[in-house]
């Protein structure tokens, strides 16, 4: 469990997950909204599973409700890591 992950590492992992989900690579950046990347709630559940597997951080449904951009998702993971 990499509880010491850096922001860059987490951002990189989130980017690669979004690519796996089918988002266009050249449109993925911290300010992109999930809506613009065609990433929906089913994708975000999978993203939460990946984050939990790799960083030991549990993201619950209510945590994710206000997450609209890639940056907000990375912020949320960082805040959970403390």
């Amino acid at each position: 469990m990499a509880a010491t992950a850096t922001r860059e590492e987490i951002e990189g992992r989130v980017f690669s997950a979004l690519q796996e989900f089918g988002a266009e690579p050249d449109q993925i950046n911290p300010d992109a909204t999930f809506e613009s990347l065609d990433i929906d709630s089913l994708d975000l559940v999978e993203l939460a599973q990946i984050v939990e597997d790799e960083y030991g951080v549990q993201l619950k449904g209510e945590d994710m409700e206000d997450v609209k951009t890639v940056r907000q998702a990375v912020d949320l993971v960082m805040s959970k890591l403390g």
Binding site: Q19, E20, F21, G22, D38, L42, V45, E46, Q49
Partner: protein, 400 residues
């Protein structure tokens, strides 16, 4: 006045390759798509046909259907602006089992890693109506959309329902067919345990040595349109769905009724629905599974439906001899094979046929394709599809 139904596009992914014409040409040439006892759609590479997101969000059975639908719609000339009001365009796709590959994989995850690790995509991937829903979404078809479930008759039932939607006036066009991807550990073991599968791994319908069916996978999709609307838009018309009928044996969970009574009635009713005499049938595409029970009961059914004299003359062949049994896709893939055979006025062969059995004495077109009667006669054929549960569905097609 009666609305009639034309076929304007076809698409298929089968063990003989990608493409409806590939299926027709290779089968007619006597090529087999069966390797090591399985009819896999081995030339199908999902990423060549679908986006990353589409691949990720669909089970193989839906991927096969999407690729076949794309081909069928392009074939129908729908690749630009849609020729029909989306709200009057439907999607009806049959399957025997749906996304069983997804179900099996996720069940292993459940057992080994726990409920928290199950993919949130599990249900949308495995549900048997996924192909119908995903095709409707991709192509903006906003009329009726649903799956048909009747085991190995599902693809034929879908086409029959689609034809009825147009004839009844509920839709002007329907994307329809069947899809199956059940060459999975559980499905293969389960069919094996009921002694349905061939031990020899050879599909040889109607031959004395036949010992069960060979599992196949693939999809077949047709674009059906109301005839007048199709003509108005200048569509190329491949042929017609002239008639359809469906009956039930009400006899046994898996075995066909031995006399073929229910299957015969479906053939007779399909001809009646089409307003066509048995004597006008040029070719019968048999269900022909290569199981001991089906091929005998179906031979009886053909004799009952056409009469002994006609039945002795009409060429009868089984696509399953070349691609195996595509289960819920079979009725659709074989309707397409029937249509293209009728268009070329050719009877494709029953492969691997060598030894006749007493009572199985129709003209099964052994091993080599043969020209059909040509000239002024209409190119009319029947495509049979029967399923576990006693379902019989028959499509009467005419090539233009």
């Amino acid at each position: 006045m009666t609305r009639s139904v034309v076929i304007t596009g076809v698409g298929a992914v089968t063990p003989l390759g990608v493409g409806a014409r590939t299926l027709h040409e290779r089968w007619t040439a006597g090529v087999s798509g069966i390797e090591d006892g399985y009819g896999r759609a081995s030339e199908f590479e999902p990423k060549e046909h679908l986006s990353v997101k589409e691949v990720r969000r669909s089970d193989l059975f839906t991927q096969l259907a999407l690729a076949a639908a794309q081909e069928a719609l392009e074939d129908a000339g729908w690749d630009g602006e849609k020729p029909y009001d989306p709200e009057r365009t439907a999607s009806v796709i049959g399957t025997g089992i749906g996304g069983i590959g997804t179900l099996e994989r996720e069940h292993i995850v459940l057992q080994q890693e726990g409920a928290e690790r199950i993919s949130p995509l599990s249900i949308p991937l495995l549900m048997a109506n996924a192909a119908s829903g995903v095709i409707a979404m991709k192509h903006d078809l906003r009329g009726q959309s649903f799956g048909t479930v009747s085991a190995c008759a599902a693809g034929a039932h879908a086409i029959g329902m689609a034809e009825r939607l147009i004839r009844y006036g509920d839709a002007d066009a329907v994307v329809t067919g069947g899809s199956e991807a059940a060459i999975t550990p559980l499905a293969t073991a389960a069919f094996g345990r009921m002694d349905a599968l061939s031990d020899s791994g050879i599909s040889r319908p109607f031959d004395r040595r036949r010992d069960g069916f060979v599992m196949g996978e693939g999809a077949g999709i047709l674009v059906l349109e109301e005839e007048e609307a199709a003509r108005e838009r200048g569509a190329r018309i491949l042929g017609y769905i002239r008639g359809y009928a469906s009956t039930s044996d009400a006899h046994h969970l898996t075995a066909p009724e031995p006399s073929g009574r229910g299957a015969a009635r479906a053939m007779e009713l399909a001809l009646k629905d089409a307003g066509i005499e048995a004597s006008d049938v040029l070719y019968v595409n048999a269900h022909g599974t290569s199981t001991p029970l089906n091929d005998r009961a179906e031979t009886n059914a053909i004799k009952t439906a056409l009469g002994d004299e006609l039945a002795a003359k009409v060429p009868v062949s089984s696509t399953k001899s070349a691609i195996g049994h595509l289960l819920g896709a079979a009725g659709a893939v074989e309707s397409i094979a029937t249509l293209l055979a009728l268009r070329d006025r050719i009877a494709p062969p029953t492969l691997n046929y060598g030894e006749p059995e007493d009572g199985l004495d129709l003209d099964y077109v052994p091993n080599e394709a043969r020209p059909l009667q040509n000239g002024d006669v209409r190119a009319i054929g029947l495509s049979n599809a029967f399923g576990f549960g006693g379902h019989n569905a028959v499509i009467c097609l005419e090539a233009s």
